[in-house]
Amino acid sequence: MNFVLALTVGVLFGVSTYFLLKRSVVKLLLGVLMLSYGTELLIFMMGDLSERNMPILELGEEPFADPIPQALILTAIVIGFGFTAFTLMLAYRFYFDLRTEDLDQMVEETEVHG
């Protein structure tokens, strides 16, 4: 199963990278979204995937799925969600201020004088 999931992880990260390298601020948002998918899946792979009973003592029985990556991913998802919301607002402000979604317009003023 690892090979399949690793391939999936690779595809997710590839797509995310592709989006992040675009000029459009909207595509940047999609890139951020995809990035969190890839991350979640990759960490999830670090548990033992052959043991897949729900880690709930009353309902399931051993071998449980590894609960630690699950807890880590939960934390990461929520943090990522906060980031996404923030990025959304940032993108809106970007569009509001610069009236463009072209990220290439963000040139920094570093003139050499003289």
């Binding site: 999931l5 797509v15 990278t17 897949r52 998802i77 959304l88």
Partner: protein, 831 residues
């Protein structure tokens, strides 16, 4: 104790002055400080002459081998005498040089800091400790050169001096660090001298030596680092006199003299010091004849004489070192005085242009007498101290000179001396005797007492010391020589040699040539026209490219700056991300290749693959890839959502119900947020530039590489499990200790509660950040009207392009219209 006083006396004076008002009374009193130190030194003269040394030590940083050890031996004594003695006259002089009290005040603060730093250099018995004072002289001289910082010339001069001497200081620091590596962290001069043999065998020896020599050369203005010294002539005259003739520029000479016994054995020492020194000797003296500015003339003669001192130390024989010691003293006396004279003339006439000055002997008789004395000394005419110096120089150039310099040295000595004589003749003639070359005679009268007092004293000393050689000079020179030569060295100085002595004949020859050149200086100078030959300033500009306000972007550093700021930091996010991703991929691939042999490689087993999960994974992949092909935002979001939902499904299948729930809910909320945001955002941008295909290809390649690397990492990590996970403890104890059946939840709220605390905080901060982002919307009025009009037209054109009849497009249009209309609903929560 007295050692400490020498260093901290001036320092404390500076500190106290800084908190005192700029009142003449305090300022004039400060003359007593260096005078007292000078007297104190003289009180030690007897002991020093007997070969005693005084040593005090304070451990500063043990781990770095840095101690503040102050050693007063013959060499230090000679220099300390010069510093405090001339320092006294300079401070006295300064009090009438500036028009305003607060200028004097500020100047004296800098000057005392400098004086204490300079005393620190010559007293330090620890190489590293010496460097600290070395850098302090750089900084304080920077402040002094840039004293009149309202003028851009002063700032440029200060910056040049800072860069050259500061750069040299860093080279010296590198050398010191290497010495530390060679000696095992020992920096004490005496200890280093004791292990001179071991040091010379070390592989780093030559590198260290070269770095130290560079440091000394920059400070002592040797070719090709000399150009900062003429540039530093924007400093107030007392500073020029003190720093640029008597003390700071001699720091390099001092350092080399101090190290002569330890490092002076090899070829590098001989050739570097000998050739550069001699070249600078001739070059400087020659350039002095081309300058218009009196101070520039003096600066060039100074670096010339420094050159010969360096060369003498490079030759490193007893005779040459003796000549160096006498030369240091003689030069300090006459050159310090000359600068002061120039200051007085400038003060009285308002110009330093040698072509405008003339016939001042009548107007300024005392100054003229003082000048005559020191000029005679400079020219090396008996019975002045300068003659003794020149004579010992000639002797040194003839005897025991290594073969390589046997022919060159005497010739250079004669030529250089002749040119020096020419310069002295020229100064005397042009200022005091002849008519001005341009314009009429200037109106002037005698300078105030503090301004002629110094030169007169120094001129008198030049005469008296020479006349009473054995009484005054020997007790100073001999201990110094012993300290340098590291043998009790008794040498005989003499004033008038026999006529058939070759050295004496050479001296006479050079005086004769010099006088001839000096008298005919005007045509020579007119033909040279103030131009600098072999001037490295343009190389400096090519490298650093900074005038004061303007930056030459074609210079080396300017190009580097442009490269970093235009090419790397170009403001375009995707370029940045390109670098980040690309480097990351490169690093990971390199590391994976590096350790490939040590890895357990994953094994592919077909029966592990389960159908349902694989199917879902394939859907995820298809959705993800489809996202990139979506032409509309909504399509892309739907595909992304599909991927997210399927990931949640995958979590559920692998026994992670909490995760699946959360992922699903977050997915929904994210989609809602995206929809809400899309209402506010433009449609996908059409990238119409010419490089689109290339860019897509490049992005694609990087994306594929990133994907491959992460996929590979996932595989490698899951096939290289090195230790059992700690999970079982949680399973055992979730109910017993955590009082809950849901292990994941117990981990979240209890076992790893701190993580949850952190992530909750992240959410709160994110909310605050979002609020902060919309808070003070800039006023719309501030936007330029035309700009807004143009943007709107562009948006309309884009909107027209977007219309098409696909179903997704309709949904999108609907939702978008709905959302666009929406606003907060009333009456529920906005209390």
């Amino acid at each position: 104790m007295f050692n400490w006083l020498l260093i901290f006396g001036p320092m404390l004076t500076a500190g106290t002055l800084a908190f005192l008002p700029a009142h003449k009374r305090f300022l004039q009193l400060t003359t007593l400080i260096p005078l007292a130190l000078f007297a104190g030194l003289l009180a030690h003269a007897g002991d020093i002459a007997d070969g005693k040394t005084f040593r005090t030590t304070y451990q500063w940083v043990d781990a770095l081998g840095l101690e503040l050890s102050l050693v007063l031996d013959g060499l230090s004594f000679l220099f300390a005498l010069i510093i405090t003695g001339i320092g006294t006259l300079i401070v006295f002089y300064t009090n009438s040089y500036f028009q305003k009290d607060d200028e004097t005040h500020r100047f004296l603060i800098y000057l005392f800091i400098f004086m204490s730093a300079m005393l620190g250099i010559v007293l330090s018995g620890n190489f590293l400790g010496m460097f600290i004072f070395w850098e302090l002289t750089t900084i304080s001289s920077y402040l002094l050169i840039g004293f009149k910082h309202d003028y851009s010339v002063a700032r440029i001069g200060a910056r040049q001096a800072l860069i050259v001497t500061g750069g040299g200081g860093l080279a010296l620091l590198g050398g010191i660090a290497m010495v530390g590596v060679m000696s095992g962290g020992v920096y004490d001069f005496a200890a280093l001298d004791a292990m001179a043999g071991e040091l010379a065998d070390h592989a780093l020896f030559e590198a260290a030596l070269i770095l130290i020599i560079i440091g000394a050369f920059t400070k002592s203005a040797q070719f090709p680092f000399h150009f900062w010294l003429p540039g530093a002539m924007e400093a107030p005259t007392p500073a020029s006199s003190f720093l640029h003739s008597a003390t700071m520029v001699k720091a390099g000479v001092y350092l080399l003299a101090r190290l002569a016994h330890t490092f002076g054995g090899g070829d590098i020492w001989l050739y570097a010091l000998g050739s550069i020194g001699l070249f600078t000797f001739v070059y400087g003296a020659f350039m002095a004849l081309s300058a218009y500015d009196l101070k520039a003339i003096l600066a060039h003669t100074t670096l010339s004489w420094l050159g010969v001192l360096i060369a003498l130390i490079g030759i490193n024989t007893k005779d040459s070192l003796k000549a160096a010691m006498v030369g240091i003293l003689a030069h300090a006396l006459y050159k310090g005085a000359l600068f002061l004279v120039v200051g007085a003339i400038d003060y009285e006439t308002g110009t330093r242009d040698i072509r405008k000055l003339g016939r001042l002997a009548g107007a300024m008789p005392v100054t003229a007498v003082a000048s005559a004395l020191v000029l005679l000394s400079m020219a090396g005419v008996p019975p002045m101290l300068g003659f003794v110096a020149k004579e010992t120089l000639k002797v040194a150039s003839l005897e025991h000179v290594p073969d390589a310099f046997a022919a060159v040295f005497p010739v250079a000595a004669v030529v250089g001396s002749a040119l020096t004589v020419a310069a002295a003749t020229m100064i005397g003639l042009e200022i005091f005797l002849r008519k001005p070359q341009h314009g009429e005679d200037l109106y002037a009268h005698e300078a105030p007492l503090p301004m002629w007092f110094g030169p007169l004293i120094l001129g008198g000393l030049s005469l008296i010391l020479a006349l009473f050689l054995h009484q005054f000079l020997d007790p100073i020179i001999n201990p110094a020589l012993s300290a340098v030569y590291s043998d009790p060295a008794e040498v005989e100085l003499y004033l008038l040699p026999a006529l058939d002595d070759l050295a004496f004949q050479l001296s006479l020859l050079s005086i004769a040539i010099g006088v001839v050149i000096g008298v005919t200086n005007r045509p020579l100078r007119d033909s040279l026209q103030n131009k600098s030959l072999l001037d490295p300033t343009h190389v400096y500009n090519k490298i650093f490219g900074i005038g004061d306000d303007k930056v030459d972007v074609r210079s080396l550093l300017g190009q580097g700056y442009r490269f970093v700021n235009r090419r790397l930091q170009d403001g375009i996010l995707r370029h940045y991300l390109n670098y980040v991703f690309f480097t990351f991929v490169l690093i990971m691939i390199a590391v994976i290749i590096q350790v490939w042999g040590k890895l357990k490689l994953p094994s592919f087993e077909l029966d592990e693959i389960t159908l349902l999960e694989t199917f879902i994974a394939v859907i995820i992949m298809i959705s993800a890839v489809a996202t990139t092909f979506a032409r509309r935002r909504l399509g892309a979001v739907v595909w992304a959502g599909a991927a997210g939902v399927n990931i949640a499904l995958l979590f559920a299948l692998f026994g992670a119900p909490d995760l699946a729930f959360t992922q699903l809910l977050i997915e929904v909320l994210t989609l809602i947020f995206l929809m809400l945001a899309f209402r506010l955002l433009p449609r996908f941008m059409q990238d119409t530039s010419r490089f689109t295909t290339f860019r897509t290809m490049r992005d694609g390649v990087i994306a594929v590489m990133v994907g491959l690397v992460f996929g590979l990492l996932a595989l490698l990590a899951s096939s290289n499990r090195e230790a059992p996970p700690i999970r079982y403890w949680f399973e055992e104890n979730a109910y017993e200790l955590g009082q809950g059946h849901n292990i994941v939840n117990v981990i979240l709220v209890d076992f790893r509660g701190l993580d949850t605390l952190g992530e909750t905080t992240v959410l709160v901060i994110a909310a605050l950040g979002v609020l902060a982002l919309i808070s003070p919307m800039p006023l719309l009025d501030m936007l330029d009207k035309h700009f807004k009009e143009r943007v709107r037209q562009q948006l309309e054109a884009e909107a027209a392009l977007e219309k098409d009849s696909s179903i997704i497009s309709h949904i999108y249009e609907n939702i978008n219209r709905v959302l666009l209309a929406g606003d907060d609903f009333r009456g529920d929560d906005n209390a």
